[in-house]
Every structure is written in C-alpha cells, then in structure tokens.
C-alpha cells in the first residue's frame, strides 16, 4: 500500500516537473499507438464495411477469421514481425527492426482486426431496409456506403477506442520489435516492465499511472467526438 502511495506521489512529481525523459516516453507512446490506430482505422473501417455490405462465398469463414484476429496475442505478432523484418529476413532490406516504425507496424497489425471486427458488426446491425431506402432515393453506391458509415458512427468510434486501448497497453510486441531502447523506442509499457525488473516498483507504478492518465485523456477526447460535442 505504501508503495502505491509512493508511486502516486512519484507520478505527480514526474508530471508536475515535466521530467524530460518521462515526457519523451509518454509522447512516443502516444505517437506510435496513435499512428497505429490511425492506420487500423483506415484499413479496418473500410475492410469491415466492405465485408459487411458485400455478399460473397465464404463470408462466414472470413468473419470468423476477423473475430479470431481480435484476440491476436501481441507477442505472437511481435515474433512474426521480428522474423520478417530482421536483417536476414524477407523484409530485412528495409532495416527497420528496433525502430519506432517497426512498432507502428506491429501495433497496426494488432489493432486492425479489432477495428475491423467492431466496424463489421456496427454496419451489420444497421437495418437492412436502410440500405434499400438510401439506394431508392437515388444515391450512388459510394454515397450509400458513406451514409451507412455515418449512421454507425457511435459503434465505429467505439472501435477506434478499442483499437487504441489495445495497442497503447500492449507490451509484448513493442519490446520485441522496438527493443526498449532508451530515448528512441522506449514507451510507457516497456519502460514499466524494465523498471519492474530493476526492482524500482515506485517508478513502475508511476509510469503505470501516467499510462492510465494518457489513455483516459485520449478516450475523453474520442468520447466527446463520439457524443457530438466540440472538443476544446
């Protein structure tokens, strides 16, 4: 209990003093996970919408695969990405292992099925007649898709939040493909693991609290967008 209080105190001190190292780690977490979420947003919403609206053979199988992907274990993603992009792997020429770019890729792979799965369900739960009605009013196919997406914006933003929540809190893949390099690829989760292994539990708790605060702020912003208020 004392340790938790000490951790809280340390977190406050770190935030109040704008500790440059912690600030850098926090911003990097936000950048990497934000960008990964953004990628997953484009791929996931368009992919999910496409699967929801198009009829094709094997659709149930594809949906099952997407739903399974929502539970992709980050370490497994990390392992595969590592093996693919290391120097002597098929994408070794990119030379991006142990860089923030590799972390974005791994996190985007983790977040995309989550966003896709929820988007898919969001579009599917819209009433079947809505689509027919839009089409009968003379909308083009593209306009129809756009209206459907707008109609499902509440669950779609929930998809973004779930995707972001999945990657900002993820540690297994980040540590494998990023390497937890000081001042370069160290993010809040990997720093927390390292401080724990060093026995600096107060620092680890402080970093954990900052991570929670960061997730809270981002979700607050997204929720305000979702609920249709102007974020200020």
């Amino acid at each position: 209990m004392e340790l938790i209080l000490e951790g809280v105190r340390k977190a406050c001190a770190l935030i109040a003093s704008f500790d440059p190292e912690v600030l850098g780690i926090t911003l990097l977490s936000l950048k990497i996970s934000g960008l990964a979420t953004l990628i997953s947003l484009f791929v996931g919403v368009s992919g999910g919408t496409a699967v929801a609206l198009i009829k094709f053979p094997g659709k149930k199988l594809v949906i099952s695969l997407i739903n399974t992907g929502m539970g992709l274990p980050p370490v497994v993603v990390g392992l595969f990405v590592t093996v693919l992009i290391w120097r002597n792997g098929p994408f070794g020429f990119l030379e991006i292992l142990y860089t923030p770019a590799a972390m974005v890729i791994a996190q985007a792979i983790i977040a995309t099925p989550i966003v896709t799965g929820i988007s898919l369900a969001a579009i599917q739960q819209l009433p079947e007649n809505l689509r027919l009605q839009i089409m009968s009013l003379g909308a083009t196919r593209l306009q129809m898709v756009w209206i459907m997406i707008k109609e499902a914006r509440l669950p779609l933003l929930a998809a973004v939040m779930a995707g972001f929540g999945g990657v900002i809190s993820e540690v297994g893949a980040s540590i494998m493909v990023g390497g937890n390099i000081k001042g370069y690829s160290r993010v809040l989760t990997t720093a927390t693991v390292m401080e724990t292994s060093r026995g600096n539990f107060d620092m680890a708790i402080a970093l954990g609290i900052i991570l929670l605060l960061l997730a809270f702020c981002v979700n607050l912003l997204l929720t305000r967008i979702q609920q249709g208020q102007i974020p200020r």
Binding site: K31, R87, N88, G179, S197, G199, L221
Partner: protein, 293 residues
C-alpha cells in the same frame, strides 16, 4: 455534428503524423551509425549501460541499440547475424561461438561474482557452511537446499546465470528438474530476484543485479567467495565475414571502447556511491587465469 466528427479525426490524424515525423527527424541516425548490442539482462538491470553508453555515443557518434536478453539468446542473435556486438557472461557457450566462427575478437571486460541468496531465516541452513570447505561451498549449499526441500528458483532462460546454475547442479549430482522444490521463472535476473524475495526462496544471482535491487528484496547473501562462482563478462564482435550486413566498424569501436581506460574507470566506480560497493570489476587486458579460476 457530422462535420465535427470528421474535423476531429483529421486533427487527430495530422497531429499523430506530425508527432511521428518529428521523432524521426530528431532521432533517427544514418543506418551505419547504428550498432545492435545484444547483452545479458544484468548489464541493463544494474544500470551500468546507462552510464557507459552516453559516453560512447557522444565520443563516436554511433547510436547503440541495446537488446537486453539472456546471454544464450544474445548469442543466438549473433549466430543469425542479427546483432553486431555481444556483451555476455556464458564462457562455455562463448568459446563454442568463437570456435564455430560466429564471432571474433573475444575480449575480457569485467567480472563480478555469483552469489547464492535466500531468505534471512535460511531454512536449509546453508550459511553455516564453512569457507574451510573451500571450493565445494557453492555445490555443498545446493545439496543442502535439495535435501531440505526448501524452494529454489531458477532463471530457466538459458542465460549465463542459468548456465552457471546448471553447472553447479551437475557438480552436486542432483537433477532438480521436476522436483517440487525447484521452480523455473523463465525471466530475467531482476524479476527472478523479486519473485524469490516474495516467495522466500533461494536463487543464484549475479552480485551486480542483487546489490542494485537489495533494498526491496529481504534476501541475504548466504554463500559467496567460492572460486567456482566467478562471473566473467566478455565482449565479442560478430563475424562480419559470415554476415556481411553486420556493422563491423561499429562493433569494433564499441568493443575497443569497453576495453579502453575510460570505460574501465567508469566500470570500476559504477555503483560505489549508490550501493556502497562496486558492482563490477574491470579486467580489460587481463587473462582469465589471472582472476583465479
């Protein structure tokens, strides 16, 4: 309302991209400047690298990417050409690594020692083993732990420390695998020490990590000073003849730095202020035989 949502998303997108490109401009170094250092967890968990690397980077302009894993995994990375230089403590495997042509220029950098740590009340009573029994102290203590059935935690991660521990069990003629009192954590030294503290268990640790973490553990040093417990760290450059993508110049620069007077002085003084005693002893230029094995 809908416009708000779209604007919100665009703002989010732009800020995210801005942030990201910023970080690239500020930090990414040209490729050949990057050195991948695969090392044991103890050099990172003790904080030693945090002292050494900034000096090296400032001096040479290289950027060191430290990947802290067990010594076994570090060498596996070297074998695949996925690291440029290694700082490890697993002598038997290192010799094999060199003999098979994966690494060159293996140099002694520093040592400390392994210690057997355990709960203060010492249920297996290993503290009473007299140093007069000389060389066998460490092995004797494991025999006692085994026969008393007190919990022993193993790293179980093919690290240098794990290799040393397996060697001691072999000398004790005990096969601990599958025994109720023997558990493997599969984690680094720091984590394993924390778990040992929590479970009041015995474990084998390197002195550096133990001293760095001592304050929270509630574990005492119970056996130390046995010659068999010497823990030596070598630096090895990965053979670029075998893996052309290896940054040979960078690896050599790092290895040279580790053996230089400047780094050796930093190693010598590291931890004295914070922990009251040095965590590592510099050995560059010495031979293994000089250390008394």
């Amino acid at each position: 309302m809908k416009r708000v949502k779209i604007i919100g998303l665009i703002v989010f997108a732009i800020t995210a991209m801005l942030f990201f490109t910023n970080s690239n401009n500020g930090q990414a170094a040209p490729q050949q400047r990057n050195i991948i250092l695969a090392t044991t967890t103890s050099t990172q968990d003790s904080g030693l690298l945090d002292v050494l690397l900034p000096v090296f980077e400032k001096k040479t302009g290289y950027f060191v990417k430290t990947i802290a894993v067990g010594s076994g995994q570090a060498m596996a990375m070297g074998q695949k050409g996925e690291a440029d230089v290694l700082l490890v403590h697993f002598p038997d495997a290192e010799r094999k690594f060199i003999a098979e042509g994966f690494g060159i220029n293996r140099r002694l950098i520093m040592h400390n020692d392994f210690i057997v740590v355990g709960p203060v009340h010492d249920p297996a009573n290993i503290k009473s083993i007299k140093s007069a029994e000389g060389k066998k102290m460490a092995v004797e203590s494991l025999i006692k732990i085994g026969s008393s059935g007190a919990l022993f935690l193993s790293r179980g991660d093919n690290s240098g420390t794990h290799a040393q521990e397996k060697k001691l069990w072999k000398a004790a003629e005990i096969n601990p695998d599958g025994q109720k009192w023997y558990q493997q954590t599969g984690l680094g030294m720091g984590h394993t020490l924390s778990i040992a503290g929590e479970k009041k268990a015995y474990t084998l640790a390197d002195r550096g990590t133990y001293l760095a973490m001592k304050k929270n553990l509630g574990l005492d040093i119970l056996v130390e000073g046995d010659a068999v417990l010497l823990n030596v760290y070598h630096v090895i450059e990965v053979n670029s003849g075998r893996w052309p993508k290896v940054n040979a110049a960078g690896a050599k620069a790092f290895a040279d730095f580790m053996a230089s007077g400047e780094a050796q002085a930093l190693i010598k003084n590291f931890g004295i202020n914070k922990f009251g005693s040095p965590l590592f002893f510099p050995d560059a230029g010495k031979k293994l035989e000089d250390l008394g094995t």
